[in-house]
Symmetry: C2
Subunit: 216 residues, 2 copies
Amino acid sequence: MTDDTAPTRRRAPSARSLATRARIFDAAECLFAERGFDGASLRDIAAAAGTTAGLVGFHGGAKRDMFRAVIARRAEALGALRLAALDAHLAKGADLRGVLGCCLGPIVDKAANGGPQWRAYARLMATVSADPRWRDVSKAYFDPVSARFITEIARLFPTAPRSAVAQAYVFTISACLALCTARWRADALSGAPIPGSGLSSLLNFCEGGMRRALAG
Amino acid sequence: MTDDTAPTRRRAPSARSLATRARIFDAAECLFAERGFDGASLRDIAAAAGTTAGLVGFHGGAKRDMFRAVIARRAEALGALRLAALDAHLAKGADLRGVLGCCLGPIVDKAANGGPQWRAYARLMATVSADPRWRDVSKAYFDPVSARFITEIARLFPTAPRSAVAQAYVFTISACLALCTARWRADALSGAPIPGSGLSSLLNFCEGGMRRALAG
DNA sequence: GTCTATATGTAGATAGAC
DNA sequence: GTCTATCTACATATAGAC
């Protein structure tokens, strides 16, 4: 596949360069999540990564492109995790709660136990899913997996129109991302911190909601 | 209440000034909603309002204060609408779907039929509810009404802990704001635009979700 | 291929004119 | 009380050094 005769062949990146790049992407992930795309400056990101603003531009390209790249970096791994869980589940029959568990479980788990980078990534997913400015990013990185889950859920509610299933799926994802990123809100409203990961109450809510909204 | 002898008494604002101020706040509402707090510059807002950047500063104060004022401007009216509906409903008994209708109906209605300013405001509500940077704004303008609804819902599920009710409420509001602001997402996922206001499918989803999550 | 110094535009805020 | 001209600082992007 390589073509040594090509005059444009590039040198492989050094280990040092790769490490710098990783630090920059980690910092960008956290700061975009905390302050939003416009609120996080390349300088802030550089400082958090321990480098300079120019280097951020070099490794990440234009700011908008870097944001896309940050989303892309984990999208495939997360999507694969969710789809693998789905396939494993479907192999032994299919029930709504199980499918929802495959859909939401990996997200909730990574956000809760995957460390600060995954926590930041969950917040970015919420941003991208809610903001029409990033519509193309949703479309490229999240919609394919979503479409698969919608299809499987639709199979469980043969009489429901696909538009209703899609609507219920959006409600579901929105509740899931609220759990991952806005826990402080529920804590504040309840007066006391809420125990556990919240996955089971999320699954209860979404399962009950879908049954009520989609049942023939 | 007025004190004509006070040496610091101020002149009443002119009609022209009030009109300018209203245009500035309308423009800020739309642009903060579209581009986020950091993405919308005071100059953009000035241009949209047909004035100058300096005037925006004069009428709105510091940018952060102006954002707060924009939220405050409609918060009271909307909260009053929701609470009035709730009180009217409670007077003739109480059922979950009715309470949820009072909670979500006014928001969905204003976002769908209240014109571009209310549509923008719904998006701002979603931003504020999701972003810990605006936690104090949520707390001041939205939490009191939320607490009231949570209390009424909790009354319908006497065995559920308040923390579980608060969690379910957050899921509910999150689905509601997704309906108001991320319709394009459901449309894209379903392949066809979704008919109707979506209020009844939202109510179905949240009612079913709450029953499943909170039932003894 | 990797990194730095700097150009160019625009941000938010305000002193002072009307 | 109302509005404008302008100030300082920082944003992103890139030309060119290593």
